[in-house]
């Protein structure tokens, strides 16, 4: 009888390698899709942003952003609008998510469908719907005046107000979803324990519920904020030409300069700024985990 030192070792090792490969293969299509639809075009735009009209390497597009104050204002307005939208979404969405999280699961699921309902209509349709509702002789102003609630038409649209209304409406579900699921995950016993130890419902909320729902709130706020940075249609339709966010400015520059480079440089700057914010936020979230938010 022959004794083999490590019987089947080679074959077993090969089996393991094949299994690993199969696992990678499953992720392959998604990776390919990301490369084709994201990395290639973004990289190409990045490249274009460093070329001038003659096709030579140049920082002209970036210099223009520094020299002309309107670019700086477009960036600060973009962040301002995104910040305000996020803040309003938190104020409106957090209490709603709280109510939903306290409902029995069946009722909550039905309400969640209602929250998701806007996703079934196109963004453009919803935005124009707001225009119909909000304009000078729109439904809201007509009825408000008819009912004697106010006298002159309120400036509800073609300005920052209208833009925020439209954007909050679109972004609210993006905030509610993660907040709701993080609230659902909070064990009711924590609140009972807080009450038992002497915390009134208000104090139990501030000291226990809010901190425990914070990771979800942070995630939701971040999603909303980042998505807001790229908004184009809503400010274009509801902003009355006064809310020029970066995406709108990109469109203007393409028309004006017939040049993708001029526009993509704006995209690159927005991309980098967004990346920085994400990085800062991820630090913040990790800090939160350090404080014990992730344990269960």
């Amino acid at each position: 009888m022959t004794v083999i030192a490590a019987p089947n070792a080679e074959g077993l090792r090969r089996d393991a390698a094949v299994e690993r490969l199969q696992l990678f293969a499953l992720g392959g299509p998604a990776v390919l899709l990301v490369i084709v639809t994201m990395i290639v075009p973004v990289g190409w735009l990045f490249w274009l942003s460093f070329l001038n009209d003659a096709g030579e390497f140049s920082l002209e597009h970036y210099r223009r952003m520094l020299v002309q104050p309107s670019y700086g204002r477009a960036f600060s307005l973009t962040f301002e609008v995104s910040f305000l939208t996020t803040a309003i979404c938190i104020v409106l969405g957090y209490p709603l998510a709280y109510v939903l999280s306290q409902l029995p699961r069946r009722a909550a699921n039905i309400c969640m469908i209602a929250v998701m309902l806007p996703f079934w209509t196109s963004l453009l349709v919803r935005t124009y719907a707001w225009l119909v509702l909000l304009h000078r002789q729109g439904v809201i102003n007509t009825w408000g005046i008819k009912l004697g609630l106010w006298e002159a038409p309120l400036p509800l649209v073609h300005n920052l107000n209208g833009t925020l209304i439209g954007m909050v409406h679109i972004m609210l579900p993006f905030l509610i979803l993660p907040v709701y699921s993080s609230m659902r995950a909070i064990d009711r016993d924590y609140l009972k324990a807080a009450a038992n130890l002497g915390a009134s419902p208000t104090r139990a909320f501030w000291l226990v519920f809010l901190p425990l729902s914070l990771p979800g709130l942070l995630a939701g706020s971040l999603i909303v904020f980042i998505l807001c940075l790229g908004f184009y249609v809503t400010p274009a339709v509801l902003g009355g030409g006064k809310v020029t966010m970066v995406a709108n400015r990109i469109a203007t520059d393409i028309e004006l300069f017939f040049n993708w480079g001029a526009a993509s440089s704006l995209g690159v700057v927005l991309f980098v700024l967004t990346g920085l914010i994400l990085y800062a936020a991820s630090r913040l979230v990790r800090l939160d985990r350090l404080l014990g938010g992730g344990s269960h």
Partner: protein, 355 residues
């Protein structure tokens, strides 16, 4: 310059293009194929029916129609060295700048006959296809019969109180401001070209800024604003107002001090069938085609002989921007000025808007 007015549903045009493509494939061996690109929507539909198809038939060639969003698309093709279009439809200003940039071929006016054209509607790189006006329009419900008559009135918020809407882009935005500031029409571009001229115009627009409720950026938008009664006074393209007025909008406009502008056709550098393109442009510049096109939209013919054919109804003719009675009160857009100053003016205008 007014690219946006033709943007809209491109699907019809794409389908048309696809149709043309399949015909082209069948007949390619027998006939020459010409590729024309325009802005799609109802505008291209009109062009197709009044200009492209009849002209192709007359020349015995196969026509392929495509749509695009503007000169930036052509620029990309030109850079890639893959120009597939023979003729591009464009705003006059965009075409002029593209010509200066070197991505268009000079037109051969030995082939294209423009001796009967209205003045200034054919340039080195671009031959006019239709004429439109940027006019002063107002809500007839707000102002009744005593509407504003001039740009000075547009700026006069005491005499004509009400919400204004003005263009978000700089094109066609500075000329009215200077006229409102007392500059005679024939001196407008002189002033704008002189140092401080652009600043003077922008300062005048800034004066009106508190009263501007909406800065419009597309033809569809300024038409809708008047239809909704959202503003009381506005600038915009005459054809759009006619369309919504037909729909019952309370809107009227004047050609007085309006800005006369035109859309045109150009041949890209590197076009596959350059000579045929010239012949095609010569064909669609003939008065009978020009007269036919007015049936689809109230944009005027560039060839003034079109008025003499008798195919345009006399009353209707008086509504067209290029009708001699209307044209004489207007300021024709100066393309040389735009080539030289638009980028600079646009930057200053954006700054004023964003302040």
């Amino acid at each position: 310059m007014n690219n946006n007015k033709k943007s809209g549903s491109r699907i019809a045009a794409i389908l048309l293009g696809g149709l043309a493509l399949s015909f082209g494939a069948i007949n390619a061996s027998a006939q020459q194929t010409l590729t024309v690109v325009s802005f799609g929507g109802s505008y291209q539909e009109g062009q197709s029916k009044a200009l492209f198809q009849p002209a192709a038939k007359a020349l015995g060639i196969t026509l392929k129609e495509e749509t695009y969003t503007g000169i930036a698309d052509l620029r990309l093709k030109a850079k890639a060295g893959a120009v597939t279009w023979d003729i591009v439809a464009s705003g006059s200003g965009s075409a002029a700048r593209a010509g200066a940039e070197g991505i268009l071929d000079k037109l051969d006016y030995k082939v294209i006959d423009t001796k009967d054209f209205l003045p200034n509607l054919a340039g080195d790189y671009c031959v006019g296809g239709d004429v439109f006006s940027t006019v002063l329009a107002w809500n007839t419900k707000t102002f009744g019969d005593n509407g504003p008559k001039s740009w000075a009135d547009f700026w006069d918020v005491k005499k004509f109180p009400g919400k204004r809407s003005y263009r978000k882009g700089v094109a066609g935005a500075l000329e009215p401001a200077l006229m409102a500031d007392g500059v005679p029409a024939d001196k407008v571009y002189e002033v704008l070209s002189a140092p401080g001229g652009i600043e003077r115009a922008i300062k005048k627009v800034k004066e009106l800024k508190p009263h501007v409720a909406v800065w419009w950026s597309s033809g569809a938008q300024h038409a809708q604003l008047m239809k909704d009664g959202e503003v009381d006074m506005i600038t915009g393209w005459n054809g759009r107002f006619d369309v919504v007025a037909k729909d019952g909008a309370k809107v009227a406009y004047t050609f007085n001090q309006a800005l006369l502008d035109y859309d045109c056709f150009a041949v890209p550098k590197g076009a596959p069938n350059k000579d045929l393109a010239m012949k095609f442009l010569a064909e669609i510049s003939k008065p009978q085609y020009q007269a036919e096109f007015t049936k689809y939209i109230t944009y005027g013919p560039t060839n003034k002989k079109a008025y003499d054919l008798g195919t345009i109804d006399a009353a209707y003719a008086k509504k067209l921007p290029s009708h001699p009675d209307n044209a004489k009160n207007q300021l024709t857009i100066n393309l040389e000025w735009y080539i030289k100053f638009e980028a600079q003016a646009a930057a200053a205008y954006e700054n004023m808007l964003s302040e």
